[in-house]
C-alpha cells in the first residue's frame, strides 16, 4: 500500500512545466523526496503501533509552486501538508473548529503526524 503512495508521488515528475496552463513550474525533486520521507517516516512509526485501522492513504497532488501536497482524512480530522521548496506547512483541521497551522522541519513534521495518527487510533 505504501509503495502505491510512493509511486503516485513519483509520478508527479511526469508533470512538465506549465502543467496547469498557467506557467506552473515542474515539481521540485527536493519536495518529492520530502513527501516520500514523510510517508515513509509515518509508516515506520505506525508499524510499531497497533492501529485499529489500516495505514491511512493520503491524497497526493501538485502545488503550483513546485510543491507537493498530502492530505489525510482520519476520523473527523483532516491533515494537510504542503511541501514547498522553502517550507513544510502542516494544517490540522477538525470539523467546526479553526485549523491549527504551523511550519516544522521535516523530522518534526513526521513526528507530529505520526503521533497524531497514533493518538487518533487510540481513541
Amino acid at each position: 500500500m505504501v509503495e502505491k503512495v510512493f509511486g503516485t508521488i513519483q509520478r508527479l515528475t511526469l508533470l512538465e512545466p506549465d502543467w496547469d496552463g498557467e506557467d506552473a513550474p515542474a515539481i521540485s525533486p527536493k519536495c518529492l523526496k520530502q513527501a516520500q520521507e514523510i510517508v515513509h517516516g509515518i509508516t515506520k512509526y505506525l508499524n510499531k503501533q497497533t492501529l485499529p485501522y489500516p495505514f491511512p492513504i493520503p491524497s497526493v497532488g501538485p502545488t503550483n509552486a513546485e510543491g507537493v501536497f498530502l492530505r489525510w482524512y482520519l476520523m473527523e480530522t483532516v491533515f494537510l501538508v504542503i511541501i514547498e521548496p522553502n517550507e513544510i506547512m502542516l494544517q490540522k483541521k477538525q470539523r467546526a473548529k479553526c485549523a491549527d497551522v504551523f511550519c516544522l522541519p521535516l523530522e518534526q513534521s513526521i513526528a507530529y503526524l505520526a503521533q497524531s495518527f497514533s493518538e487518533l487510533g487510540e481513541r
Binding site: 502505491k4 503512495v5 509511486g7 503516485t8 509520478r11 508527479l12 511526469l14 508533470l15 506549465d18 502543467w19 496547469d20 496552463g21 498557467e22 506557467d23 506552473a24 513550474p25 492513504i57 493520503p58 491524497s59 497526493v60 497532488g61 501538485p62 502545488t63 503550483n64 509552486a65 501536497f69 492530505r71 483532516v78 494537510l80 504542503i82 517550507e87 506547512m89 494544517q91 490540522k92 483541521k93 479553526c98 485549523a99 497551522v101
Partner: protein
C-alpha cells in the same frame, strides 16, 4: 476597499485551470488530485498578491478570453520556435468554448469578504475590474488554512458550471 461592510456581496473571479485533465489523472492513478487550493494561492505570475477580477465588471467568458489574448500576444513576439511551439500547445484551439468544454477550464467565484475577514488588504480596482488581494504566498497559505483543510471545494468558493463560464454578461 478594505472594510468588510464595503465588500459584502461583492464577488471576484479567478481562472481555474483544469483539475481533472485526463492525461494527468490517467498517468497518476485514482488518488492523485490537482487541488483547488492552487486557485487561491498566488501564482508566480501574480506580481502583487492574488490577481482577481470583480464579477460585476468582468464576465467569466471575458476572463477566459483574456488568457487567449495574452497567449496570442506572446505568440506574436515569440523569439524561438520552441517558445512558439509551447505557446501554441497552451493556446489549443484558441476559443473560450474549447477551453471550457474540451480542456476543462473553469472560473471560480469568491466573496471578497473572505479575504477581508482574513486580514488581507485589497487594492483599488482598475477600469477592467482587476484588483489584487495583497499578500505573499505564505500569507495566503496561513490565513486561509481553514478554507483549505475542509474539503476540495470550500463552501464559500463556487466553481462555475460550464454554462456559467461561457456567459458573456457580468453578474453581481
Amino acid at each position: 476597499m478594505t472594510s468588510e461592510s464595503n465588500t459584502e456581496e461583492v464577488y471576484v473571479l479567478r481562472r481555474c485551470p483544469p483539475t481533472d485533465r485526463q492525461e494527468v489523472i490517467n498517468a497518476q492513478g485514482a488518488i492523485l488530485e490537482i487541488p483547488l487550493l492552487n486557485v487561491i494561492l498566488p501564482h508566480k505570475n501574480d506580481k502583487q498578491g492574488l490577481s482577481v477580477y470583480l464579477a460585476r465588471q468582468t464576465s467569466p467568458h471575458s476572463l477566459l478570453q483574456m488568457r487567449i489574448d495574452e497567449i496570442q500576444s506572446q505568440l506574436a513576439n515569440a523569439a524561438s520556435s520552441i517558445e512558439r511551439e509551447k505557446l501554441l500547445k497552451r493556446l489549443g484551439e484558441g476559443t473560450v468554448k474549447s477551453m471550457v468544454e474540451a480542456e476543462g477550464w473553469r472560473v471560480v467565484r469568491i466573496p471578497l469578504a473572505l479575504f477581508v475577514r482574513n486580514g488581507f488588504d485589497i487594492s483599488d480596482a482598475d477600469n477592467l475590474g482587476h484588483l489584487n488581494i495583497i499578500g505573499t504566498r505564505e500569507d495566503f497559505k496561513k490565513r486561509l488554512a481553514d478554507l483549505f483543510g475542509d474539503s476540495d471545494i470550500p463552501a464559500e468558493i463556487t466553481v462555475l458550471s460550464k454554462e456559467e463560464c461561457l456567459l458573456e454578461t457580468e453578474s453581481t
